[in-house]
Each structure stands twice: as structure tokens, then as C-alpha cells.
């Protein structure tokens, strides 16, 4: 049984790591997926050429490509695009000198076959033919080894299962009927067990596929996500040496600054509030707790819009200050909730004792309360940091039009423009790893405590 289990894990791991790599070049997709290559002429007349695989010969195809330039959309269509027999390619290529291209390809009038936006790479290839040639050979190269690995894994899994089956038959040949029956039962339970495990792992694969895509493609310097141009650490180097897009750099700084300000403010405010709430009478306590839960229940968009209306009504100019206030609003309730449990564990009389012994309230807070509440405050602080970094909805409505961008809003405007600044990929791979480490650490610490 053990050998079999290893075989199945090998499969799962292999699928996780190889699925993003193979999707582009797999024969499976190449069969079912119609492939196109588009070229937008660079000379004055702006011609458009569409090349289609042989199977499309004789079919009428409509193609429209729009090029985004200076916030103006040029749209040109080619209604009677001729069918050109050409080698088939296994990806979609838009070949142009412009920086961003929106493309739409209809197979017939109704059926939209492909549609999307791309930020283009610099023209590395002088001619269209050269471009095509380079890509077809590259595709052939990369398919080779990946499918070899897959075939190898399949072979190993097959051999392992055959061996284990034969071994099982041999072992059980001499068993009595009752023993065979108990073994069968046990095996059914195990099968159910592995079935449910398989379900969870499949879910996880789907859940992690997009993330894996980002992580895998952070190691190639191609501007387009999904276009593998060989292993390279250039994006990481760019990110850390500040060579990335200026907008991205300022977005990172603003995100860090806002998160720190919001987390510090909300930790102070929330800790004081938690102490206050804890010492209130039942009725007042209930009312304040209800108030505390309002920002947590409200979806981002409502919090954002209501604060936006407040700032408009007050005539406040929106910028860093308003974003910080907004972040404190939705972070503080979480700090309150993480400090409250510590308070209930604390001896309520220590504070009074400190006052009786001559401490001022501030001294008592600093020397008696805070050391006790520290873990709760810390977890509230970390929670506030992550919430602030992750927020999009509230920031979007309170950032104003002064050019202030945090990472989230930067990604949004980036994605709207069509494409993603490549340096975001290594940045988020790093964030993912840090988060993983933090979560593992927290769980590990909890386990230790439990023991």
C-alpha cells in the first residue's frame, strides 16, 4: 500500500508543478484549441493579417483588432480576411509595434473564439516569419522534455501498481474467507479515505493553479504572463534594485506607509477601546460591541462609498490622510476583538492595585496593563497590517484623484490597461512565501502550546 501512496503523491505533485508549464504546449490543447497569429502592420496603412490553421480553409472569419494608444482606441476590421494556409502555431501571437493591443477573433459571426488584452514585448523579431519560426521551434523543444517526464511518471505509476497488485494476490491466496472479507472491508474504507483525500487535493490544485501560474512565471523575464522565455531571475533583481516601473515603486511605498500608520493608530485606539469596553456596564458594552461589528459586517464597497460621501460632504481633499482614516476605520474592530480575550484572562484587580500604590493611570497602563495585553495587541497589529495591505474597495473610493496608488489599486488600473507589470509576479511570490512561513509558524507554536 505504501508504494502505491507514494505513486499517487508523485502524480499530484507532478500535476501541480507541470500543469502551468504544459498548458501552453500540450498536444491536448493544441488539438482542441484553435490557434491564431495576428499581425498588425507597422506602416501607414495599418494592415492586418490573420493566419489560421488548415482546418479553417474556406471558412469566413472576422477579425478585429484595436490598438490602444494615447487613450484613444483605433479599431480596424478586416471583413473578408482571406484564409491563408500556414503552419499551425500553438499560441496566440499579436505582433505589433504598439505597447498594448486588444484583440478579438470571431470564428463565425456569433462565436467569439478569442478575446483579450496584452502588453506587447519589444520587437525582438524583425519579421513576422522570423517570429513564427522562432516560436514554433521553441514550442517543439519545450514539449519534448515535459511529455517525456509525464510518460516516465505514468510508466513508474503503472509498474508500481502492477507489482503491488501481484504482491497482494500472492499474500492473500492462503487466507480464509473471513479474513478476506475483513481485508475487503478495510480496503473499502481505505478507498473511501483516499477518495476524499483526492477530492481535497483536486480542489487545492484548482485553488492554487492561478497562484502557481504567477509563481512559476516570476522566474522568466517575459512581459506577458504565460509566455515562457527561459529561466531568469531578472524580475527579482529589478524589483529589489528599483528598476521596476516607477508607479509600482511608489505604490509599494504608499502601501507600506499606509499599512504602518493604520496599524499603529488602530492598535492604540483599539487597545484603549477594548479596555474601556471591558469595564463598561452590560448595556453600554452591548451597544459599543454592536457599533464595533458594523465595519466588519459592511462590505468594502459600502464602507468606501459612505466614507467617500463623508469626505465630499466635509469638503476634505482626498489623499493620504483620508485613506489612512478609512483604513483605521476597518482595522480597529479587529484589534478590539483580539485584545478583548486577553483582558478577560487578566486579573481585573492589578490595575486598581497599581493606582492604590500611587501610580498614575498612564503609568498603570504602561507598566501593568500593556505587558499583559501585549500578545493580543501584537496579533491585532499584524491583522491590521495584512487587512490594510490587502484592501482594495475602501482605498479605491477614498484615495482621491491625486495620483495616490496602493498596490491593489495599482494592480486594478494595470489590469484595466491590459496586462500586468511583470515585477508584480516576484513581489507576490515573495508575499506568498512570507505568508506561508507566518501561518506555519503560528500553527506550529499553537501545537507546541497544546502539548
Amino acid at each position: 500500500m505504501k508504494i502505491k501512496v507514494i505513486g499517487y503523491r508523485l502524480w499530484v505533485i507532478g500535476l501541480i508543478f507541470l500543469s502551468p508549464l504544459t498548458a501552453n504546449h500540450s498536444p491536448l490543447f493544441a488539438q482542441s484549441n484553435v490557434t491564431y497569429a495576428l499581425r498588425v502592420g507597422t506602416t501607414g496603412e495599418n494592415t492586418l493579417l490573420a493566419d489560421f490553421p488548415d482546418s479553417y480553409a474556406g471558412e469566413k472569419v472576422n477579425v478585429s483588432v484595436s490598438i490602444e494608444k494615447d487613450n484613444l482606441d483605433f479599431i480596424f476590421t478586416n471583413h473578408q480576411s482571406p484564409i491563408i494556409n500556414h503552419q499551425s502555431f500553438d499560441s496566440i501571437y499579436v505582433y505589433t509595434d504598439e505597447s498594448a493591443v486588444t484583440w478579438t477573433v470571431w470564428r463565425s459571426k456569433k462565436e467569439v473564439k478569442n478575446r483579450g488584452q496584452r502588453v506587447m514585448t519589444q520587437n525582438a523579431y524583425k519579421t513576422f516569419e522570423e517570429y513564427v519560426r522562432a516560436h514554433t521551434t521553441a514550442a517543439k523543444r519545450s514539449t519534448g522534455w515535459i511529455w517525456f517526464v509525464f510518460a516516465g511518471m505514468l510508466l513508474v505509476a503503472g509498474i508500481v501498481s502492477v507489482i503491488s497488485y501481484v504482491a497482494k494476490r500472492r499474500r492473500e491466496k492462503n487466507l480464509s474467507a473471513v479474513e478476506q472479507e475483513t481485508l475487503r472491508r478495510k480496503r473499502m474504507g481505505l478507498r473511501r479515505h483516499y477518495g476524499s483525500q483526492l477530492y481535497l487535493w483536486l480542489l487545492l490544485i484548482v485553488l492554487y493553479a492561478p497562484i502557481a501560474l504567477i509563481a512559476v512565471f516570476s522566474f522568466t523575464k517575459s512581459k506577458i504572463l504565460g509566455n515562457w522565455t527561459g529561466f531568469s531571475m531578472d524580475l527579482y533583481v529589478n524589483l529589489f534594485t528599483g528598476k521596476a516601473d516607477a508607479g509600482l515603486n511608489s505604490a509599494i511605498w504608499y502601501t507600506v506607509v499606509i499599512a504602518l500608520i493604520a496599524a499603529v493608530c488602530s492598535t492604540i485606539l483599539g487597545t484603549l477601546a477594548a479596555i474601556g469596553i471591558y469595564n463598561m456596564r452590560a448595556k453600554a458594552r452591548k451597544a459599543v460591541s454592536l457599533l464595533n461589528s458594523v465595519p466588519m459586517i459592511n462590505p468594502d464597497i459600502i464602507t468606501g462609498i459612505s466614507l467617500f460621501l463623508l469626505f465630499v460632504a466635509l469638503g476634505m481633499s482626498q489623499g493620504l490622510a483620508t485613506v489612512c482614516i478609512a483604513h483605521v476605520v476597518f482595522c480597529t474592530p479587529y484589534v478590539v476583538l483580539s485584545v478583548l480575550p486577553r483582558l478577560s484572562r487578566m486579573n481585573p484587580n492589578t490595575y486598581e492595585a497599581a493606582l492604590d500604590l500611587g501610580a498614575t493611570p498612564a503609568q498603570a497602563l504602561r507598566m501593568v496593563m500593556i505587558p499583559e495585553l501585549w500578545p493580543g495587541m501584537l496579533s491585532g497589529f499584524i491583522l491590521a497590517l495584512t487587512l490594510s495591505v490587502d484592501d482594495f474597495g475602501v482605498t479605491f473610493f477614498t484615495k482621491g484623484s491625486g495620483g495616490l496608488e496602493t498596490l491593489s489599486t495599482f494592480i486594478y488600473s494595470d489590469a484595466r490597461k491590459g496586462g500586468l507589470t511583470p515585477e508584480l509576479r516576484p513581489l507576490f511570490t515573495i508575499i506568498l512565501l512570507v505568508m506561508l512561513a507566518v501561518l506555519i509558524y503560528i500553527n506550529f507554536r499553537k501545537d507546541k502550546k497544546d502539548n
Binding site: S196, L200, I211, G276, D300, A313
Partner: protein, 263 residues
């Protein structure tokens, strides 16, 4: 001065700054949404904005469509998430903590980036962007919110009840439907609320997932509220959303613990 010290030595008063802050930045803004909804540009009372909403075909249709998408998404998340939570809560499942962590981890990555990655995945596999991509993306974003509360209630469930049912002759299915499901309902309720509310109010990601073809109610609100002349109409739309949110959170009131587990 001594009086001030006296006031602040009573710890009850320490919450005052927070209460004042919340009144200013949570309660007042929510009231303002209502105020803006009932006034015109010059600040005079009017019901015209509401009249406009009920005759505005696009808004009504978008609203109903968003509700439908949210219901679908919640149903899909429940169908996929319940079995996952159930499996994780089984006694013989050896690594529930690691599994739960793996399911939560994606939530810590910026949801916009995950959405963009989903779009790229669809492009790469040659799948068309549209309603399917929208539902996939939403489900992908909010599935952990469904799994976690259900997992929490199932895990805290007293297993002797299940054993008692089995001893009294219930088979696996009866036991599941008559004992486990009713006991896990609080988790299901809070899961539904936690998936439905963000889905119905979602904005920004629908455009990315459908290549600007499908607009949800959140995006509509965003369009109007950021246009100066139509701000009051945007406030009406927000009020409608706020009512839906309020109704949903009443629905989720059955449960008082499930939500706390997430953070």
C-alpha cells in the same frame, strides 16, 4: 487637572475616543448615504432619485442579475465546500490543520492579483472569458469563506451524537442527513452570509473576468458615485445594496460563533 485624572482613571472612559471616532466615521457616513439618496444636487429633499431607480431598466436588470449571480455562486460554494469541510472534520483525517491552512492561504494574496491570474489561466487554456469565468473567479475567491465556518462547526460537533445514531440503527445516509447536517446548520448559515455578502457587492473583478462584457451592481454603483452630477443617484443604489446586506446579516444572526473562527 485632578478632575481630568479622575475621569481617566475610570477605565470605562477609555473607550470614548473610539466611540467618538466610530460615530464620526462609521455611523455618520452611513446616515449620509441616506441623506444623499433623498436629496438632489443642491441639497433639497426629493424622491426623484428613487423614481429614477424604479424606471431605470439597466439598473434594475443589473441588480437582479447580480442577485442571481450571488445566489448561484453561494450555491456552488456550498456544494463544493460542504464535502471538503466534512472530509476535513472526519476523525480519521490526519492533517486537518495543514489542510485548513492550505485552504486559507490563498485568501492572504491580493484578490485582484488572483483574479488577474485566473484571467491569464483562462486565456492560456483557450477558454473564453464570460459568465463561466465570472462564476469560476467568484467561487475561487470566496470558497474558503464557505469551507472555514462549516469546518469549525463540524469539528466542534459532539461525535457521540453520531455514534448514538449509528448504535440506534441509522445507516450512513440517515445519520448524515438527520444528525450531521442539522447540527452543522449554524456554520452553513454563516458560510452563506460570508459568501453572499461580498459576492453581491463585488465590483472591479467582474470587468476583469468578463473582459468588460458583464457589469455587476457594484460596478454600476461605482460608475455613478464617482460621477459628480450623478452622486445622489449613486447613493440610492448604495442604499439598495445596504438594505440587501442588512437583510442578509439578519439571516446570519442564527449563529454567533462561526464567524469569529476565521480571524
Amino acid at each position: 487637572m485632578t478632575k481630568l485624572v479622575q475621569i481617566f482613571s475610570s477605565r470605562r472612559t477609555w473607550a470614548w475616543p473610539y466611540v467618538a471616532f466610530m460615530a464620526m466615521f462609521v455611523v455618520l457616513p452611513l446616515i449620509l448615504v441616506g441623506v444623499y439618496a433623498f436629496t438632489d444636487i443642491d441639497g433639497h429633499f426629493t424622491l426623484h432619485n428613487f423614481a429614477k431607480f424604479f424606471t431605470h431598466n439597466e439598473a434594475i436588470q443589473t441588480f437582479l442579475y447580480s442577485l442571481m449571480i450571488a445566489v448561484f455562486n453561494t450555491a456552488i460554494c456550498l456544494l463544493i465546500g460542504y464535502p471538503a469541510a466534512y472530509i476535513m472534520a472526519q476523525e480519521d483525517f490526519k492533517t486537518p490543520k495543514v489542510m485548513a491552512m492550505l485552504f486559507i492561504l490563498p485568501m492572504w494574496i491580493n484578490f485582484l492579483l488572483r483574479t488577474v491570474a485566473t484571467v491569464e489561466l483562462f486565456n492560456m487554456c483557450g477558454l473564453p472569458l464570460g459568465e463561466g469565468a465570472l462564476l469560476f473567479g467568484l467561487c475561487y475567491d470566496y470558497l474558503p469563506f464557505m469551507i472555514y465556518p462549516i469546518y469549525n462547526t463540524l469539528q466542534k460537533m459532539d461525535n457521540s451524537l453520531v455514534e448514538a445514531a449509528q448504535d440506534l440503527g441509522a445507516n450512513r445516509w440517515t445519520c448524515f442527513w438527520k444528525v450531521i447536517v442539522p447540527l452543522s446548520m449554524p456554520g452553513v448559515y454563516s458560510g452563506i452570509v460570508m459568501v453572499f455578502m461580498p459576492t453581491v457587492s463585488t465590483f472591479a473583478i467582474a470587468e476583469l473576468l468578463t473582459h468588460n462584457n458583464i457589469k455587476l451592481f457594484g460596478s454600476l454603483i461605482q460608475d455613478y458615485i464617482t460621477t459628480t452630477d450623478l452622486l445622489n443617484y449613486g447613493a440610492v443604489l448604495s442604499l439598495v445594496l445596504l438594505i440587501i446586506i442588512g437583510l442578509t446579516s439578519f439571516f446570519g444572526d442564527h449563529d454567533d460563533k462561526g464567524e469569529g473562527g476565521l480571524v
